[in-house]
């Protein structure tokens, strides 16, 4: 029987669980906790109870597949314009560790047209072999054809773990593939580990805009699939003397696709895209007026980074929505994040709080952004930014 139960003998009526519940699903009756209809079985109350008075049970799951048939760690090598994305190399670095812990091979999956050099590069970065599907019709990403091919490969070779970069394409492909295979998928992971006893993948990810971390497993279904946030895992130093097999599997290339990509437009050409940048300089309403956003762009350019924005200035029309960082914009995790004239509202923090180093420039010392800043400068952004640009220009040349 699935369900949640309060063990009344153990419940002391302390109400910790009531506070822990995000859904107001726990009432107090006669000084004992009672679960009501709002319950979503999220389990937050179970871990909140200091008296082991809440129990959650799940029916013994039927194993949907023979999980012992599944072996090996796979990384999807997303490529654009014939070049594999940085995140794929990061995943190979992480995948190498997972594969070594499990003593299984690490493979990369490369779908594209005429990119054999990229396959060799994947081996240099740690793959033992590469499944390379080459066809002119799959030169560019397409949800329909890529899903079809990926599912064929998984069904044929049965990997136990599949890692996909949490890029726009990755976060569209992965759920479609997982849904067709009826397996579990954990989104936007920031930590991966192997439970040595059970040989399970422990997938850790932020939820509630980074306010809560959750560790998730997929015990009875295969493969165990995750999308992984770019810029979190570390790539290995490439070793071009490494050897590995490039396998061209016999898959059926889907024809007569329903989904047609008519045009691909790159608007972020000179600068780096937000999701791939090591350094992001973001501006907010504290810039004062639209033209001052040029300062943010210039600092980003000098540092070889990308320019971001708070929602306030996107809504004000100072910059395009594609720059917005936060809950209703992009989630980023660069090495260095500059928040220039940004107050640090929770919705903004939701998109950038996992950055390694956060630099806040704000004239109000009580601005919430300072609470999460590694370095804070209290002052006027319109004065500080030109000075910073000057400093870096001098020092970087």
């Amino acid at each position: 029987m699935t369900g949640i139960e309060i063990i009344t003998d153990k419940c002391v009526g302390c109400k910790l669980c009531v506070k822990a519940c995000m859904f107001s699903a726990i009432d107090m009756k006669d000084k004992k906790a009672v679960i009501n209809d709002n319950c979503t079985l999220c389990g937050a109350c179970v871990s909140s109870c200091k008296f082991d008075a809440i129990q959650m049970e799940k029916e013994k799951a039927r194993k949907s597949v023979d999980i012992s048939e599944y072996k090996g760690v796979w990384v999807f090598a997303e490529q654009k314009h014939g070049v594999v994305s940085q995140v794929a190399f990061e995943l190979l670095g992480e995948g190498r560790k997972l594969a070594d812990t499990l003593s299984v091979p690490l493979s990369a999956v490369l779908i594209g047209n005429n990119v054999p050099k990229q396959a060799k590069k994947l081996i240099a970065y740690g793959a033992d072999n590469v499944y390379y599907v080459e066809h002119q019709s799959v030169e560019n990403y397409n949800d329909e054809s890529y899903t079809d091919i990926f599912v064929q490969l998984i069904e044929e070779y049965k990997p136990e773990i599949v890692l996909i970069g949490a890029t726009t394409y990755g976060r569209s492909l992965a759920p479609r593939v997982a849904s067709r295979l009826n397996t579990g998928l954990t989104a936007d992971c920031t930590g991966l580990e192997i439970d040595p006893e059970e040989r399970l993948l422990l997938q850790t990810r932020p939820a509630f805009g980074g306010n809560l971390m959750a560790t998730i497993i997929c015990p009875n279904h295969r493969p165990q699939m995750s999308t992984v946030r770019p810029k979190v895992m570390k790539p290995l130093e490439p070793d071009y003397s490494r050897t590995g097999e490039i396998i061209q599997p016999g898959v059926i290339i889907p024809e007569n696709l329903k989904v047609k990509v008519l045009d691909v437009v790159q608007t972020v050409c000179e600068t780096v895209s937000l999701s791939e940048a090591d350094i992001i300089v973001s501006g907010g309403r504290g810039l004062g007026e639209a033209k001052n956003y040029a300062l943010v762009e210039e600092l980003a350019r000098v540092l070889g980074g990308a320019a971001g924005a708070s929602r306030a200035i996107v809504d004000a029309g100072w910059v395009d929505y594609s720059h917005q960082v936060g809950q209703t914009g992009k989630t980023v995790g660069p090495k260095v994040y500059f928040a220039c004239g940004i107050s640090g509202a929770v919705q903004h923090l939701a998109g950038m709080s996992s950055s390694d180093i956060i630099i806040a420039i704000n004239k109000n010392p009580d601005a919430p952004i300072f609470k999460i800043a590694t370095y804070g400068i209290i002052g006027d952004v319109r004065e500080i930014l030109p000075e910073l640009i000057k400093q870096f220009k001098d020092k970087l040349n």
Binding site: L16, K19, C21, M22, F23, A25, D37, A44, E59, D143, E144, T147, T167, T168, S172, L173, P175, R176, A178, S179, L185, T186, A187, D188, P206, A207, F208, G210, N211, L212, M213, A214, T215, P219, N220, H221, K258, V261, V264, V265, Q266, T267, C269, S273, I279, Y321, Q327, T328, K335, V336, Q347, F370, Y375, I377, I378, G379, I384, E387, L388, L396
Partner: protein, 264 residues
């Protein structure tokens, strides 16, 4: 054109405060709101209806209280609201959610376009849209920022990508997920508010939609949360003092010393 919009209820704030002693979430106002991205999905559904005719139905899988929220959608021009609610749905991950929604949508039937938000602000997974499309066996496009053309059996839209956008066409029925840029949601009209007051949300349980309970809720969810914890932000924030010039120099030196910023 019959449009279905998927709407999720999420906690009203992600500003979870943590009780340091017990490491649990403290929530003062436990109210729920419509997932912010779904507001754009609703607005887009209503705009399409206004342009080409047809009807808009919102569907949600959630706790009984969600019915109240769905009425807000009626107030901004949605025609019908369906709530899937059953103890059997509790504890659903994205796969089980997609399954339940697909069964609910099949029960409603006769749809041309399904609009989801890009992602929900509680789990931030962005998985339900594509997963639902798969369960329904229809094509999908994520992160839609503009619909260029929509007519009987056809949609052409712009999808935001990491470095720009692309133009995608699909036959209908299909699923799209939308980003904030697509529109500006309207406020409810007085007439809309009156209508929503009288409106009764259609409530279905698992049996009503013919759902296999072993594929629903906790039992139908391949993933399990085994641990939750609050991230430790070990920040000993340092305030850099001085004149603007000194502050800038000091910061630049620190970043260069840490090699985050490298000399060319």
């Amino acid at each position: 054109m019959n449009i279905i919009v998927c709407v999720k209820q999420v906690p009203g704030t992600t500003d979870v405060k943590i009780n340091k002693e017990t490491n649990t979430i403290i929530r003062d106002e436990a109210d729920i709101i419509i997932n912010p991205f779904d507001e754009y999905a609703i607005e887009e559904g209503v705009r399409i209806k206004e342009k080409v005719g047809g009807s808009v139905t919102v569907i949600s899988m959630g706790i009984p209280k969600t019915a109240e929220l769905l009425r807000e959608a009626i107030a901004v021009g949605v025609d019908d609201a369906v709530l899937l609610t059953d103890k059997a749905f509790a504890g659903s991950d994205t796969l089980a959610t997609s399954y339940a929604l697909s069964m609910g949508i099949k029960k409603i039937g006769g749809y041309d376009l399904i609009v989801c938000g890009k992602q929900a602000t509680d789990g931030d997974t962005a998985q339900v849209g594509p997963s639902l499309a798969e369960k329904l066996g229809v094509p999908h496009t994520t992160n839609v920022r503009k619909i260029e053309e929509i007519k009987e059996g056809y949609i052409r839209c712009q999808r935001m990508t990491d470095d720009g956008f692309e133009v995608v066409e699909m036959p209908l029925p299909a699923v799209i997920t939308v980003v904030k840029e697509i529109n500006e949601p309207r406020l409810p009209s007085i007439k809309g508010k009156l209508k929503s007051k009288k409106y009764e949300v259609k409530i279905f349980n698992a049996d009503d939609i013919g759902a296999d309970k072993s594929l629903c809720g906790l039992n139908g969810s391949p993933t399990q949360v085994i641990k939750t914890f609050t991230p430790v932000h070990d920040i000993n924030g340092e305030i850099i003092e001085g004149t603007a010039g000194e502050q800038a120099k000091n910061l630049a030196d620190k970043l260069l010393a840490m090699q985050f910023v490298k000399c060319k």
